[in-house]
Amino acid sequence: MSSSRSKSSILDKPLSKGKGEVSLALYALLFSEIVQYCQNRSHSINELQTKLSEMGYDVGTRLLDLYFVRERNSKREIKLLNMLLFVKSTLWKVLFGKEADKLEHANDDERTYYIIEKDALVNKFISVPKDKGSLNCASFNAGIIEAVLTNGGFPAKVTAHWHKGTTYMVKFEDMVITRDKGLDDR
C-alpha cells in the first residue's frame, strides 16, 4: 500500500500454485507441539479443543479465498450442498491429499450435516490418553471447516467427534437453511 516501504509486500508476489510439499514427520511434530502448547494453557479437554479449533479457524479463514481463486476460478458457491461438497472434496483433497470419506445429512435435524473422515491426518500420530478419551485433536480441522463455511456465507458451528473415525458435526444457523430453500424455489 505505501510506496515508502523498501521491500515489496506479500500482495505483490504472484500466487504460488500450491504444489509445494513438506515432510509429514515435520508437520506431525509441529502439530504435536501445538497441542502441547494449547494443553499447557487450558484446564479442561473442552478448553483445549476450543483452542485447537480457534487455531484451525485462523488457517481456514486464509484458505477460503486462496482455494476459490485457485481451484474454482474465483467463483464462490452459493448453494449449501455444493459448498459442503467443496469442503469434502476440493478443500480436503488439496489440503490433505485425499477427499473426506463421507458427507451425510442428519435424519432428524435439517440443519445438521456430518463430514466423516476415517483417518484424519492430524490424528495419525496421536494416541489419546485413557483419561482424556473424548479428546479429538481434529478439532483443529473442525475449526478449518467452520471458518471456510462461516466466512463463505454459511454460518455454522463445527465440532469434531470420535465416530467412524472422526466425524465433523456441522450445525448451520437457521437462516442458511431458509435461504437455501428459497434458492430452490426460484
Binding site: G20, E21, S23, L29, L30, E33, M55, L95, F96, K98
Partner: protein, 176 residues
C-alpha cells in the same frame, strides 16, 4: 495400514498447510504472550523439541554416518532442510577455523505470506531451535542465530551456526 489413494506422497503434506498452521501458532502466541522476546524463546524451544525427535527420523531415512568435522555436519543440515522443508539453503561464509558457517536462503515455506509486526519477533526461531535440538542428540553443542532476515527487509535470510563443544555421553539420570 490400508493402501492410500493419495495425490500426495504419503510421507508428505501440502506445504501451505504447514505455512498456515505455523502462522496460526505464532499469531496465537503473540496474542497470549505479552513480550515478543518470550515468544521468540518459546518458538526456539518448540523447534528444539522437534529437532530432538526429528534427528531420529533423519538418521533412519538417510545413510548417515558420524560426521568428523563441521563441514560434513553442514552438508547434513543442508540435506535435512531439503528433506523436511523442501528447500535448499546454501552453506557459506565459513570462519577460518572451520567451526562456524552460515546457511543462506531466499525462500522458506515457514515464512511465506508473512507480514511482520515491528516488535523484534523472530518469526522463524523454530529453525535454529530445531538445528540445536537435533545436533544435541548427536553430541554436538552449537549456537544458532539469525544474521539477516528476509522478513525484516534483508535481501536474504542468513542463519549462523557456531560449533561450541562436543558433548560427552552422559548416563541418563537414574540409570547408574
Amino acid at each position: 495400514m490400508s493402501r492410500q489413494t493419495s495425490r500426495l506422497d504419503a510421507k508428505k503434506v501440502n506445504s501451505e498447510l504447514l505455512t498456515l498452521t505455523y502462522g496460526a501458532l505464532v499469531s496465537q502466541m503473540l496474542k497470549e504472550i505479552d513480550n515478543p522476546e518470550d515468544v521468540n524463546k518459546q518458538l526456539e524451544r518448540i523447534g528444539y523439541n522437534m529437532g530432538v525427535r526429528l534427528i531420529e527420523d533423519f538418521l533412519a531415512r538417510t545413510p548417515s554416518t558420524r560426521c568428523l568435522e563441521m563441514r560434513e555436519t553442514a552438508d547434513k543440515i543442508q540435506q535435512a532442510f531439503r528433506l523436511y522443508l523442501n528447500m535448499q539453503p546454501v552453506v557459506t561464509s565459513w570462519s577460518s577455523a572451520g567451526d562456524e558457517f552460515s546457511l543462506v536462503w531466499d525462500q522458506c515455506p515457514l515464512s511465506e505470506w508473512v507480514e511482520m509486526p515491528n516488535n523484534g519477533l523472530k518469526y522463524c526461531a523454530l529453525i535454529p531451535g530445531a538445528i540445536r535440538g537435533a545436533l544435541q542428540m548427536v553430541q554436538l553443542d552449537v549456537q544458532c542465530w539469525f544474521v539477516q532476515d528476509l522478513l525484516k527487509g534483508d535481501p536474504i535470510t542468513e542463519l549462523r551456526v557456531k560449533y561450541i563443544k562436543r558433548l560427552e555421553d552422559a548416563v541418563p539420570a537414574g540409570e547408574d
